[in-house]
């Protein structure tokens, strides 16, 4: 009986480890784990948006009739994650360090930095993970806005590059226009 219990436990542990391995392996190429963020101690702004594929495909179905182009773009998305963290004296250095670390990780993993905008107190970086010329598998946007906030965006999916610019134009979203133009130039 003891042996049976031991075997069952071992089997459970092995299955759990295997599942974890599979999950880690199954993370789509455009997915980046930003880690966990904590709200600023001073009580500043803290926003988290995490939209998974089931909700995205539902919205895509809803948009199909009126906005077929938007629906097509949405159908290719697997995940949208946005984190906005207000900056204060307690977390500014940590956030800057995190952005720096993330950017070097993206460089090391073969992501392309396609937009770099550094004004006096603003630092924007846009990275793309592409699959040849046919699709964008992931977009990462990092923004440090002086003393105001840090923004982390990760869009994961199978996105046709030409659609990004179309959506940017269609909805007048400047960052998407820039990304679309940058992808088209490549």
């Amino acid at each position: 009986m003891k042996q049976f219990t031991r075997h069952t436990l071992m089997l459970a542990v092995i299955s759990a480890l295997a599942t974890t391995g599979i999950c880690a392996e199954n993370a789509p190429p455009g997915y980046i784990d930003f880690g966990k963020f904590s709200p600023p101690a001073s009580g500043g702004e803290f926003v988290e948006v995490h939209i998974k594929s089931n909700l995205i495909s539902m919205v895509a179905r809803l948009a199909e009739k009126h906005e077929p182009e938007v629906a097509e773009l949405l159908r290719g998305l697997h995940l949208v994650r946005v984190n906005v963290i207000g900056l204060d004296d307690g977390n500014r250095a940590e956030m800057e360090k995190r952005v720096k670390k993330l950017r070097s990780e993206l460089d090391a993993q073969g992501w392309e930095r396609i937009v770099t905008a550094q004004k006096k107190d603003e630092d924007v970086g846009v990275y793309l993970k592409t699959r040849g010329e046919e699709a964008v598998e992931g977009v990462v946007v990092t923004v440090i806005q002086g003393n105001h906030e840090a923004v982390f965006i990760n869009i994961v999916g199978n996105i046709k590059p030409e659609k990004i610019a179309v959506i940017g134009e269609r909805f007048n979203i400047e960052p998407l226009k820039k990304i679309g133009q940058a992808v088209e130039k490549k």
């Binding site: 009580g43 988290e48 948006v49 995490h50 909700l55 007048n172 979203i173």
Partner: protein, 219 residues
């Protein structure tokens, strides 16, 4: 039936009486069945009413969300209002509003709702500042164990907002959303079940959706 083992109401001298008794019991049986059936129907109707009207109480999901936040805050809360309405109540309301001159968009929005619950609570005493991140973590944990994903979380010094959707949501025709909003000393926990199709139709037809009526997003 042998002598000396007669039941109540039977006379040993009458040979026909045992048959009369059996017949009487047979007549009596449907009456008992009828009574049971009536009780059963009443119970089913009562349960149906509770399910359809919402019985003006909040569902277990909203209760879990409320309790997780209240327990993690470790503070005393006063219930200001707690109400839930189900499909039957909403249909009655819609039927009543059919005679009222209502804006078409408002009517569409009302028709898309299939159930709604809301609870409003207030902190009872002056309390040291609430730990919003702990409250949000507790709410996330409680809701995740019931199959809910948080899609939006917003925190600031005074406010906390979290929106949850079922992680098995597939159809836009029946989407349930839970909301937690905390503003200073006041907390609102709400949930709504709705058909999103007419609402999206409404949104797409609004001028703000079209490029001419839309302001740009820049950074």
């Amino acid at each position: 039936m042998p002598w000396g083992r007669e039941r109540w109401g039977e006379t040993p001298s009458s040979p026909d009486l045992p048959w009369t008794g059996i017949r009487a019991r047979e007549y009596a049986r449907p009456t008992r069945t009828c009574a049971r059936l009536k009780i059963g129907i009443a119970l089913v109707l009562a349960l149906l009413c509770v399910a359809l009207t919402g019985c003006f109480r909040v569902s277990s999901d909203v209760r879990v969300l409320r309790d997780s936040v209240m327990n993690s805050a470790a503070a005393d809360w006063n219930e200001k209002i707690e109400i839930g309405v189900g499909a039957l109540t909403l249909n009655l309301a819609r039927a009543g509003l059919a005679f009222v001159d209502l804006d078409a968009e408002a009517r569409t929005a009302l028709q898309s709702v299939r159930g709604a619950e809301v609870g409003v609570y207030q902190l009872r005493h002056r309390h040291k500042p609430l730990k919003h991140s702990a409250m949000l973590s507790a709410a996330d944990k409680a809701m995740a164990s019931r199959g809910w994903d948080r899609i939006v979380g917003v925190m600031s010094q005074r406010e906390l907002v979290a929106i949850y959707v079922r992680n098995d949501v597939r159809s836009a025709r029946n989407v349930k959303v839970c909301l937690l909003a905390l503003n200073g000393r006041e907390m609102v926990v709400a949930s709504a079940r709705s058909n999103l199709e007419p609402l999206m139709e409404l949104a797409f037809n609004r001028p703000e959706w079209h490029p001419t009526g839309r302001s740009g997003i820049h950074f």
